[in-house]
């Protein structure tokens, strides 16, 4: 207790130096906190936009479809399956999709296309489908031989809203599939490359064209938040009771995107390391100066019977007191900044596209990580920086130290 008392009072002796040290640690804490909140917020935002706008958080496919897609690897009786999925906790929406490839012709222009059959109502609820229509309108809620063309594809085919498009493909029964559709709108999904080939049909129209009645290739599911998706996926798998249907989270079916995000996120540790290095140098400087100045006092303390361990703890405690003050005040500062940036975000000087989604503003997120990681790091840095000086203080030779002026 007396060791703590001396450490506490010592920390207020050199007010200017203490203030500077506390400010160094406080600044380091706040910067680290904001950096983590910014990184987590940005990635959560990118992931959320990417998954909510396109893929969904969880997808269901016939086993093996993701590794080797095929017209014949379908999920059957998707409506019953969807009804079962809806009963799982945290599931918000689901949307069925059908995929195939074919040839589309508008007038004399032809191009290879990716045929995507969607349920407009469910797709809009799941991935904001209608918001992506940039010209004309979205598909009617019931099948009406309508088509939406990706903006890139429309350019290739020199097509405009109101034109007719002929699609030629292959039916699941081996027949030649072809039909005529009216272009009701153009769509920009955010994935510019995908939009060069994307052609959307009503799910029922696509099923008729490809002879895949009541069958789909994919069911996209969105849930309330990105946390613990594995648990939701497992719950869906249990609920549907179909071993031939695979349930995968976005980390699995968009593995390359996930790996890229993880790699980017790892990079933020470097900035944290640099911040902590600056803090460590500041703390080391303070403690070294303190120990050298108080060499005589440590000699006296040792002379009157204070153990080396007690002197060691005294020095470390003094820095720990400053670290705790820095963390408490730094938390308040970081919270205010993080909160403000989580609401208003920061406009990017130039927008960027990630995974087909365009971002022009990024936000922080207020989470426990952005407080406890900097707190632990500041404490460890402060302790590490004070170990050597504390050792020097504990090992002073009393007789020699007391001759110091």
């Amino acid at each position: 207790m007396v060791t703590f008392k001396i450490a506490l009072r010592n920390s207020f002796r050199q007010k200017r130096r203490t203030t500077l040290t506390v400010l160094t640690m406080l600044g380091g804490f706040a910067l680290a906190s904001i950096s983590i909140a910014w990184s987590d917020g940005s990635y959560a935002y990118v992931i959320d936009m990417f998954t909510r706008n396109q893929m969904g958080h969880i997808q269901l496919h016939r086993a093996g479809y993701l590794d080797r897609p095929s017209l014949y690897k379908t999920v059957d009786d998707y409506k019953t399956l969807g009804a079962a999925i809806e009963t799982v906790e945290r599931v918000q929406h689901w949307a069925p999709r059908l995929y195939s490839s074919g040839l589309a012709s508008v007038g004399e222009k032809s191009s290879g296309v990716r045929i995507i059959g969607v349920d407009p109502e469910r797709e809009t609820a799941t991935t904001r489908f209608d918001k992506k229509v940039t010209a004309g309108r979205s598909l009617s809620l019931s099948a009406s031989h309508e088509a939406l063309l990706g903006t890139g594809l429309a350019k290739t085919l020199k097509a405009k809203v109101g034109d007719e498009v002929v699609i030629v493909s292959q039916g699941a029964d081996g027949s030649i599939a072809n039909d005529l559709y009216r272009i009701v709108g153009l769509i920009s999904s955010g994935d510019a490359i995908g939009d060069r080939t994307a052609l959307y049909l009503h799910l029922t129209d696509a099923q008729e064209l490809l002879v895949l009645e009541n069958r789909v290739h994919e069911i996209a599911v969105v849930v309330d938040g990105l946390d613990d998706l594995d648990e939701v996926a497992a719950a869906i798998q249990t609920t549907i009771q179909q071993p031939e249907t695979e349930v995968a989270t976005w980390q699995e079916f968009a593995r390359s995107f996930y790996v890229a995000m993880r790699a980017d996120q790892q990079g933020s540790w470097i900035s944290l390391f640099v911040i902590l290095l600056v803090v460590a140098v500041g703390v080391l400087n303070t403690v070294l100066m303190t120990v050298l100045e108080r060499r005589r006092e440590y000699g006296v303390l040792r002379a009157v019977g204070t153990g080396p361990g007690q002197v060691f703890r005294m020095v470390v405690m003094e820095i720990m007191i400053m670290a705790v003050v820095s963390i408490v005040v730094g938390s308040a500062v970081a919270y205010v900044v993080n909160y403000q940036l989580s609401i208003e975000g920061v406009a990017l000087p130039t927008s960027f596209t990630y995974g087909g989604v365009t971002f022009d503003r990024l936000y922080t997120i207020i989470n426990a990580r952005s407080f406890y990681i900097p707190a632990v790091c500041i404490i460890l840095t402060a302790v590490a920086a004070s170990l050597l000086p504390a050792q020097m203080a504990a090992r002073v030779a009393p007789a020699r130290a007391m001759r110091t002026h």
């Binding site: 007396v2 006092e297 002379a303 009157v304 019977g305 204070t306 153990g307 020699r400």
Partner: protein, 234 residues
């Protein structure tokens, strides 16, 4: 240890101390043989550089010896580890320094009770002893003051209180009056002598002040690291 040693607080035999001063070897003590009995009030005197401070440092374990042996209250110092020496100083020796050396961030009361805190003496007993001693040493009403708000004489009295409050076997004082004016110095020495007579605490102090020497009951004169004279005084 035999029965004859029971009353001997310090037994120094052939104590030699050599140290290096900027690479130049200096022989500070040259084979000192000295015994201090319990209850003595002894002064170690001699000119600057005669080895007074070095002797006090080696008999308290603050500094090592080059040769010979020192027994303090029967214990051979050279056989103790750093930690043991630390505990031993805490429990057996009280120190009074020329520059007072109080802990600047602790109040008078906290400075005096510091060693008792290290010893784990309970709060009630600590406060009783501190209160009694401060009163005895004329420091009433100063318990809550920081050392920086005391005069030199007051600080040295606090240092005396700190040195004796844990009831050590020996109090070592290195030039305790060097920074005090004559009157305050004599008052302090008289006070130490009273404590010696009243409580039987053994005092060994170094000085080169002739007025202070006259108050000692034993005078040990050092010259060039050797005992030049060792005589009892009235």
């Amino acid at each position: 240890m035999n029965a004859d040693n029971d009353h001997k607080v310090i037994i120094a035999e052939g104590v030699t101390k050599e140290y290096s001063d900027d690479g130049v070897p200096v022989m500070a003590l040259r084979g000192i043989d000295l015994t201090i009995e319990q209850g003595e009030f002894a002064a170690i005197v001699g000119p600057s550089g005669s080895g007074k401070t070095t002797f006090l440092n080696v008999v308290s374990g603050l500094d090592s010896i080059t040769d010979g042996s020192v027994r303090l209250d029967g214990k051979l110092l050279s056989s103790m580890s750093g930690r043991e020496l630390s505990d031993y100083r805490r429990d057996k020796i009280g120190f009074i320094f020329q520059a007072y050396n109080l802990i600047p961030v602790l109040t008078v009361e906290e400075n005096v009770e510091y060693i008792m805190l290290l010893q784990g003496i309970d709060k009630k007993e600590r406060h009783r002893r501190v209160r009694d001693l401060l009163s005895q040493l004329g420091l009433d009403g100063m318990a809550d003051r920081l050392p920086s708000r005391l005069s030199g004489g007051q600080q040295q009295r606090v240092a005396v209180a700190r040195a004796i409050v844990s009831r050590p076997a020996l109090v070592l004082a290195d030039e305790p009056t060097a920074n005090l004016d004559s009157k305050t110095a004599l008052d302090l020495i008289d006070m130490m002598r009273r404590l010696n007579e009243d409580s039987g605490v053994t005092f060994v102090f170094s000085t080169h002040d002739s007025m202070i020497m006259a108050r000692a009951r034993r005078l040990i004169v050092l010259k060039d690291g050797r005992i030049d004279r060792d005589e009892a005084q009235a």
